[in-house]
Amino acid sequence: MGLIREPDGVDFVIQSQPLTPTDVAEIQNWIRKQTKTSKTKAALPSKVTKPGKSKRENKTVRSRKVG
């Protein structure tokens, strides 16, 4: 089972710098490279969707003219 111990004398703390749009793009580019080189596809959508929302939720519904 799990249990990843931190090294002796080191406390496990993460404090990330705030993400900039450039940071986000760089990480997404890295993900795309991983997808190309790996058999497992990372689910980076071809079209950008809002975080936490499905493609269906982001789909634009076109109304049909009547009459």
Partner: protein, 170 residues
Amino acid sequence: MIDAIIDKLTESVEELRTGRRYVTLITRVMSPNEFKLASKWLFNWQSELPQREVYRLTIPAISDTPQGLISLERQVGFVFVHLVESHPQNVGKQKRFVGIAGNLIAYAAMISRDLGFAGVVAFDAKTELIRHYETTLGAQLIGRQRMALDPVAASHLIQRYFGEHHGTNS
């Protein structure tokens, strides 16, 4: 009443003094009012809400005191971890429990997987922990101090902590 999404139990923290391992519980913190933290926590966790998701790890057999906290943000294609911290009693030479943070990173990977991001997680690492994350989490250094779990590393981490398929309420 705490409006929390309760999720997954793992057995991956160890009490240093006794060597005993404990089942843990990870729940989402929905309101700043839920924080009743000792003053010695490093970060201002109440300020993380509501713009970020905060999850706490507790050890039900001990108490409902958070033993670790994680703050994360959903991005397109990955989950970004902003803060991870262990309870003040779990830092320093006299730390009580070990394994808290690894537990929380694995949970972030599971959230990422359940969002369809194949478990990809990114975060910034302290310099002295970069090598540790590479060897224990399988994380890759992708920037000066920025690290990320690729889908393969994330899958291994999730399997290690959570075994067969489990889901979050993401």
